[in-house]
Symmetry: C2
Subunit: 390 residues, 2 copies
Amino acid sequence: MDPTINVSGVSQLFQLLRDGVPRTRAELAKSTGLARSTIAARVDELMRLGLITPIAETVSTGGRPPSQFALNPSARLVLAADLGASHATLAVTDLAGSVIAEHSEPLDISLGPVPVLTWLLEHAAELLERLGRPASDLAAIGMGIPGPVEHSTGQPVNPPIMPGWDRFDVPGWVRQHLDVPVLVDNDVNIMALGERAVAWPGVEHLMFVKVATGIGAGVISGGSLQRGAQGIAGDIGHVQVARGAGVPCHCGNKGCLEALASGPAIARALRAQGVPAESGNDVVDLVKRGNIDAIQAVRQAGRDIGEVLTTCVSLVNPSVIAIGGSMARVGEHLIAGVREVVYTRSIPLATEHLAIVQSAAAQNAAVLGASMLAIEHALSPETLTALVSA
Amino acid sequence: MDPTINVSGVSQLFQLLRDGVPRTRAELAKSTGLARSTIAARVDELMRLGLITPIAETVSTGGRPPSQFALNPSARLVLAADLGASHATLAVTDLAGSVIAEHSEPLDISLGPVPVLTWLLEHAAELLERLGRPASDLAAIGMGIPGPVEHSTGQPVNPPIMPGWDRFDVPGWVRQHLDVPVLVDNDVNIMALGERAVAWPGVEHLMFVKVATGIGAGVISGGSLQRGAQGIAGDIGHVQVARGAGVPCHCGNKGCLEALASGPAIARALRAQGVPAESGNDVVDLVKRGNIDAIQAVRQAGRDIGEVLTTCVSLVNPSVIAIGGSMARVGEHLIAGVREVVYTRSIPLATEHLAIVQSAAAQNAAVLGASMLAIEHALSPETLTALVSA
């Protein structure tokens, strides 16, 4: 039997076992259509790699070999990084996405790629040391950055707030110091992955909308993250909204959603009304203290966002829109504005089964999504094929 | 060797040969990693099924077996149907999507499913008879209809202009009379597939916008047609546009794109100016005769469409927007309006490599797309596996 076919049997088996549900050899044979003798050989191979583990049964089998198997989530680790504009979070997770060590601190992305990635490598080494695990246990690194990324190369492309990062070979640089696969994506894209993993497993059409200093969306359609031709799919912050006429945006255009409904934009509008608010955080505090002007401003921002999302609902027909980012901490006031407009303006069929909800993953969405990105790569049929053939 | 693995080798080989490029056994072994002996057996199997054919070389090989193989496009046929609101086109194509027989005539979709599908079966039989091919040569039927379709079942869902079709089991009914797989999709979705096949092979992010009695879009993202949670992704005709305030739409809402920029809407606007235009076709004729009012009205409709497409460009980041449907026959005037707004309002990175063009497939887009839908199914690994195992 030739080796390629051999490997493909292994992968088929493993993709089945990834859900963590223990199965017997007989169940595996039935689900895959592979012969019993083939199953036995493949199970041994996956055990040898440490990727699956025997599960003890409640009733003793009297010394016979253990008969159920499942994914061994602690076989390997992944490193997940959420690099924000001014803050970075690093986590080590197992192959099921559970965080087992974490570090977070203020870090300015505009320091440039070498200082930021050096920080990442140093703290990754610290986390592994704390866990007593060698670097060779790392199966992949997943990373989110606040700018557009060319998916095939992992290179930032024209990121507006990341000086020095344009076309920097992030995976190449990291791999000179730590030789594992490096997956880089836009922060909002990985938030969408994290949100789905936490709250909507199996949902195939989901939009994650981040409302913070900027506004952007991560779009999962047909089960997959959609990145678009230039890697900027979901970049809805610079769509013009009706109320925006004449309001200048930092992008150079006028009337953009971000110039009206982002945290700084809401704060600016409140200051113009004589309400002291310097930042999005101040707005959140005001809303939490029940300030009526702040509540109304946030509700209006929700309506502006809803105006843009109405078109998105028609175009991609999601079943879930999750609103996250720092401004989502104001709670229902923002979501209420979004719902008001989306439900008024959309065709009934598009909203009949549409949930518009606050992010459940909240501030963990990004780091969990980065972990998902890394795990998806580490457990893919291609990676497994390479492992078995090696 | 167990049969499942055997079949997966066949499929791997065939997916490679589908592009029509002739390959030798040695080339196939190199590309697939399968052993030479395996390749020989699989090639024989695919030849037996008639799916691949030996290609004669220019230099005689002196009686040895032919050494190059490629897809045999005439091995099987597919039936492609474009069922419009008031017109139907039926085509028989080969497995490369070339039309080999066609029939077209006025047919009212509102007659209901049984009369329309009976018409389809009768004319399919006629076309096959004309070609001298038995019904058993049909590998699949692809069908486009003017309404939302639940992709998994092929059932129309709340189609507004198709009385009697709601939740009708189209594949089930057809298969009672002609036992082949039946794939049903929305007309604009299959137009997107047809447009890509004709003009943009390999393009992964494409939007096809149909401008006719209604306005809708078919969205290809990440290489796949995106249908959304309810099968209505791309239904952009009822997004509200700035100029639309107060204009009533047949959907019950106000200010929808379709109420301003569809063929009937442009004709109505012209009549209000005293220009005699009863329909979209009249508008096209006026523009072709150089009527300035009609040209201006079409240009403005293009701007309205562009307003909605600007958000679409930000959300899905396509590399191609193809404008088709009966109103696209006015040529550059409509496209110019679309470009004017999209290029003014979008962020530069989103439009740097974006082509906004007239549909190249034009009125053939739907029937070609229906053929693609059927071929994709007929040549899929799953179908092939079933064939070989049978």
